[in-house]
């Protein structure tokens, strides 16, 4: 983790479902829509694959933000993966807020394969939000490296 960097660039882990949001991100590329280079994508088959523990692990490993994006309700390539995930995320999101984690840290979106523009916009917003609240510290676990 480049902590002692002069100007801090947020690192945002983005879990994108293969069939909608990842395709949406590709479309943003094909349409050359520019957005901030702060996301680090992890492609997953479905937002339903995203175990909330992944989100926590990302935060513990020093991610400044986490974005999980899937298909719009009803469009899930696996029929109900995003519905099942939505319940878990609702609970996690609320719990994190409750214990005092800034809401901007962990965010969710539905982005379809046709919404390249929306994807760029989401990354914009998320990045802005994370910049606003600054570097993550609350859940981060650092490894002692001699200094």
């Amino acid at each position: 983790m480049e902590d002692n960097k002069a100007e801090w660039e947020p690192k945002i882990v983005a879990f994108l479902c293969n069939w909608c949001s990842y395709a949406g991100a590709d479309l943003a590329g094909v349409s050359r829509i520019q957005y901030p280079p702060n996301t680090r994508t992890i492609r997953v088959p479905c937002s339903g694959r995203v175990n909330p523990l992944f989100i926590l692990k990302a935060l513990q490993n020093g991610a400044d933000g986490v974005l999980v994006s899937g298909c719009h309700p009803g469009d899930c390539h696996y029929l109900s993966g995003n519905y099942v995930a939505r319940r878990k995320f609702a609970i996690l999101k609320s719990l994190l807020k409750y214990i005092g984690i800034e809401e901007e840290r962990v965010q969710f979106s539905w982005v379809s394969a046709a919404e390249g523009g929306k994807f760029a916009e989401v990354v914009n917003e998320v990045t802005k939000g994370v910049r606003r609240i600054g570097k993550a510290t609350k859940l981060v676990k650092e490894i002692y490296n001699g200094n």
Partner: protein, 316 residues
């Protein structure tokens, strides 16, 4: 109370005599004041050791997992009966192997509250009276009304009687519904920093003995995520960066599965306010998915199902 105690003994005796059960899980006198202790009776044992009083703080349904293929009789408070429903839903127990002896419960007392009353002085003796508890300490004695020393989760309990049981002992307790979430609402009102500080102050105390997990009937995983080394979900140290994660995930795993029996807080040697987390999730599950854990034995738990109209304001 005494009458119920006798009825429990008779019932159990009968169950053994009629060979309905192989083992009975109940309460026996403790070795310390204000305590009782779980007891496991077989046919040959003496049912007279069974007790039922305000010190029966343990959540007995936690032991069902140890007797999966035995015919078990169990003394069940309201909370236990709800937990049994959940264990049935998650097929951790077999209905046909179970005889649930429901008891009306007026709540159990919180030793930690008494500790406050005695100013930390060791309690050397206790007697239960109809209208309260007589405690002896530091050469003196003091009568305390039960309301002042009831366990927090008992004070807001809406299910004083077993919600479902094969045999019910005595008269049903009156249940007037109370709002269990006042404390949580107050907490939600606090600022982000206040909430964060409170969370840290509490979690800081954790020594990671896992008592909270091990006394919980719903924590029956063959291998807890926190013990898993491949992959190592989270660090194993007792430092707050790791214990935080343990408690967040533990609470998350309780979503729709916690009946607020209070076993975890009662067990915690460091007095960590674990209900601060579990109760919040209980509230969210109710508000988001209109689900109350263990009240019915046929209602699918929240994470096993979904509704197209589930809340999603938080999603862009």
């Amino acid at each position: 109370m005494e009458t119920n105690e006798n009825e429990i003994r008779l019932t159990v005796k009968k169950l053994f005599d009629e060979d309905k059960i192989d083992i009975l899980i109940g309460y026996s006198p403790g070795t310390l004041p204000l305590r009782t202790s779980p007891v496991f009776l077989r046919k040959e044992d003496d049912v007279e050791v069974l007790v039922w009083n305000s010190f029966c703080e343990n959540t007995l349904s936690n032991y069902l997992k140890n007797y999966k293929d035995k015919r078990v009789g169990i003394v069940a408070k309201g909370c236990d009966s709800r937990l049994i429903n959940l264990l049935l839903l998650e097929s951790q127990v077999k209905k046909e192997n179970l005889v649930v002896i429901g008891v009306p419960c007026r709540g159990v007392i919180d030793r930690k509250k008494i500790d406050k009353i005695t100013g930390g002085m060791e309690v050397t003796g206790s007697e239960e009276k109809e209208d309260g508890i007589l405690i002896f300490f530091d050469g003196t004695d003091k009568k305390v009304t039960k309301a002042d020393i009831l366990h927090d989760s008992c004070m807001i309990c809406n299910y004083k009687n077993a919600v479902s049981s094969d045999i019910f002992i005595g008269e049903k307790e009156k249940e007037e519904k109370v709002d269990p979430y006042n404390k949580i609402r107050e907490m939600e009102e606090n600022s982000t920093d206040e909430r964060w500080n409170y969370f840290n102050k509490e979690i800081e105390k954790c020594i990671r003995c896992y008592a909270c997990r091990n006394v919980c009937p719903m924590c029956y995983c063959q291998e807890c995520f926190v013990d898993c080394t491949d992959p190592e979900w989270f660090g194993k140290t007792a430092e707050i960066k790791d214990t935080k994660m343990f408690h967040i995930v533990r609470a998350y795993h309780m979503a729709g599965r916690c009946v607020d029996c209070g076993a975890c807080v009662k067990a915690c040697p460091m007095d960590v306010d674990l209900r601060f987390l579990t109760k919040k999730i209980e509230k969210d599950v109710l508000e988001f998915f209109a689900y109350e854990a263990g009240v019915k034995d046929d209602e699918p738990p929240p994470f096993t199902t979904f509704k197209p109209e589930d809340p999603q304001e938080f999603i862009r």
